[in-house]
């Protein structure tokens, strides 16, 4: 009998001493992404005590969370779990999440718990359980839950039914490359430029005596890391490889025992070539130059697309002075538009200009391209010569500007405003011939005998660039030209393209 009692006490003490659990506050997703449920946390603590676990004091856990700045619930990291074992003396950590909780009918509650071993941060047990009030109703209504306590009792019974009663052998390998933080920069580098690599190991490893020799490997090259002056980072620097490409950096830790562990920690890109850029401008080709009068579309394009850091476009006049400068960061624009104005919002004069587009990539390698354009706003300058032979009139039209004409028309009107002739064409010089019109019956005013007929004319010319001119000739025979249309001299018919 005494032997049995002794055995029971030994068994109980062994189990009790191996089953200290730190119950962290439950995350309550019904409240928010970081809400907590104190009531259910207390209930879980009581359930763990009832099942023979020794539970770490609540205040100690709060102090632990404050000390280690644990701000999010139900998301302990491996390092925090191991620290909980060391500082709280806990064999196990229990964390959990409340998924659904509605106490008012229809009552719903669902909960998830995870049990982790602090010796190796392994997840040993997890269980999810959910209850809906209709699931608890029996056929005769016997033993139906009457309040939330009854529901929680049923929930926790189901939740904890398969919780393990003992700790498991630790799987922890003391020789692990536990990296807290990695700083590898720059991400993009020119050949020969220095790459810096800094590693922060978890303090338990960094401060221990069994610290490994850490080496950074890039391809076949090895760069030993050494503790910096502040004793915070293990650091190494090396020149970037000469060949363009992506380079992966892995760390290898070698312990005195000979154990070796590796981890990929990052990559960097060696950029050896400047970006290749072209620009296309849309306008009319005249004398080997793109010519425009109003809007010039500029389309830059990377021949081999790559990320860039910034770009700039400049317009230079014939004296090489910059009249327009614009730039941006990151992506090059799909299209730019120049309306023939300077940065001071004044009209640029007619003439030749150089468009210069420059781009810099992520390692500041620069590339430029340029093109010549010509701005021409001057409209066609038309000379009109008239010859007359009895009743036949011949009009010679000629463009004194070098820019070819693309379209013209000329209308002729009697004194009374009746249009009697329309001539049009696509090229100049040209000659228009017509017979003087007879006065129609009833047309007023009657022409006095011997008086010269008055013929009005309207001329429109457009060149290949799009510049236009319009002239009204009040008296063709006297070639009285107006420089501009007067409002009170508008013709009586609708004039298109004015």
């Amino acid at each position: 009998m005494l032997v049995l009692v002794a055995f029971f006490l030994l068994f109980w003490s062994l189990n009790a001493s191996c089953r200290t659990v730190a119950v962290f506050p439950l995350l309550d997703l019904t409240i928010g992404t970081n809400g907590t449920n104190s009531l259910l946390t207390d209930s879980v603590r009581r359930e763990m005590v009832a099942r023979g676990f020794e539970v770490v004091d609540e205040q100690e856990i709060m102090q632990f969370m404050i000390l280690h700045r644990i701000r999010t619930l139900s998301r302990l990291t491996t390092h925090e779990i191991i620290l909980a074992g060391e500082e709280l003396g806990a064999d196990l950590v229990l964390q959990g999440t409340v998924f659904q909780l509605q106490e008012e009918p229809p009552t719903t509650v669902s909960l998830n718990l995870q049990l982790l071993q602090t010796s190796d941060a392994s997840l040993e047990w997890a269980h999810t359980e959910g209850l809906y009030y209709t699931e608890l109703f029996s056929l005769l209504g016997l033993s139906d839950p009457e309040n939330m306590d009854d529901i929680y009792r049923i929930l926790f019974t189901r939740l904890f039914e398969d919780i393990p009663g003992k700790t498991f052998p630790a799987k922890k390998d003391d020789e692990l490359l536990e990296i807290e933080n990695v700083v590898l920069r720059p991400e993009n580098v020119r050949p020969g430029e220095i790459v810096d690599c800094k590693i922060r190991l978890f303090s338990a490893l960094q401060d221990s005596e069994n610290i490994p020799v850490i080496v950074a490997r890039v391809g076949d090259d090895e760069y030993p890391l050494t503790l910096d002056d502040e004793g915070y980072y293990f650091a190494a620097s090396w020149p970037a490889q000469p060949k363009e490409g992506d380079y992966a950096v892995s760390l290898t830790g070698t312990w005195p025992s000979g154990t070796t562990r590796s981890a990929l920690v990052g990559t960097y890109f060696v950029d050896a070539y400047e970006p290749e850029i072209t620009i296309t401008v849309h306008g009319k080709e005249l004398s080997g130059k793109t010519t425009f009068n109003n809007t010039l579309y500029i389309l830059p394009r990377l021949v081999d697309p790559e990320p860039i850091s910034r770009w700039e476009i400049k317009v230079l006049d014939q004296k090489d002075e910059v009249i327009v400068r614009q730039g941006g960061h990151n992506e090059i624009p799909v299209r730019l538009t120049w309306a023939g104005q300077t940065d001071l919002a004044t009209q640029a004069p007619d003439g030749d200009y150089r468009i210069l587009f420059t781009v810099w990539d992520r390692v500041n390698l620069e590339s430029s391209t340029e093109t010549l354009v010509s701005l021409l706003r001057t409209p066609p300058d038309i000379s009109i010569e008239l010859t007359r032979d009895n009743g036949t009139v011949a009009i010679d039209l000629e463009n004194s500007m070098a820019t070819p004409v693309s379209y013209w028309w000329m209308k002729f009107f009697t004194e009374t405003g009746r249009q009697f002739k329309l001539a049009e064409g696509e090229t100049l010089p040209t000659t228009i011939e017509f017979e003087l019109p007879e006065q129609e019956e009833g047309e007023l005013p009657e022409q006095e005998e011997g008086r010269e007929p008055v013929i009005e004319g309207l001329l429109y010319v457009r060149d290949v660039i799009g510049n236009q001119m319009t002239r009204k000739i009040i008296n063709l025979f006297e070639l009285e030209l107006t420089d501009e249309m007067q409002e009170d001299s508008l013709e009586r018919e609708w004039v298109e393209e004015f």
Binding site: T72, F99, A126
Partner: protein, 194 residues
């Protein structure tokens, strides 16, 4: 586009209440896939508040409960997401996955989207609905290896009268997770020997 066509063909051939979960293999599963699994934050397109977090935790629990997988701590994953500046609603690219794998020793990543997560009241009962698309990525290459589509409603499990019916999203997620894991084990994920 390819996956949308796959889903349309799947629904056409199997009907709306077709054979789920449905698995598509993009490449062969690594031999040691089950040895260290990392669950990535799911992209949540459902209407249930914080549904992505709910499903991720439930799925992690079922992976552990199956006894065949070792799962990386959620806290370790979030910490690396912060270091690599990856947003939770953003799927890491293959290069980022390789870096995460290097730091965590991951052999297999489980990520994906919650396409639908909702609860409707039907009389005294709740009718939860859940549709998920899970994507498995190789820890070594960061490339996608399998895709699994699963869709269920709580009443799909109803047997006689109201018995068997699932009334909560959590229970539905738990049931569906079990079905997905069972399918994976059938299709060739080999339990880790270690």
């Amino acid at each position: 586009m390819y996956r949308i066509v796959f889903i349309i063909v799947l629904l056409t051939l199997t009907g709306c209440a077709g054979k789920f979960p449905a698995l598509q293999e993009s490449s062969s599963m690594p031999v040691d896939a089950a040895c260290r699994v990392t669950i990535l934050p799911f992209i949540d397109k459902g209407s249930f508040t914080r549904g992505g977090a709910v499903f991720a935790k439930v799925f992690l629990t079922e992976l552990i409960a199956s006894g065949h997988f070792q799962v990386v701590e959620e806290g370790d994953v979030i910490e690396l997401y912060q270091q690599f500046k990856i947003f939770p609603n953003q799927q890491p690219d293959s290069e980022q996955l390789k870096k995460i794998s290097g730091r965590l020793g991951t052999t297999l990543f489980v990520g994906g989207e919650i396409l639908k997560m909702e609860e409707h009241k039907q009389g005294v009962y709740l009718d939860p609905g859940l549709t998920v698309m899970l994507r498995l990525y190789s820890g070594q290459t960061g490339e996608e290896v399998w895709t699994t589509y699963h869709s269920r409603r709580g009443k799909d499990y109803q047997q006689v009268l109201h018995f068997g019916r699932i009334n909560t999203l959590t229970s539905l997620a738990k049931e569906m997770s079990g079905e997905i894991i069972t399918l994976w084990l059938e299709k060739g994920i080999i339990p880790c020997a270690g």
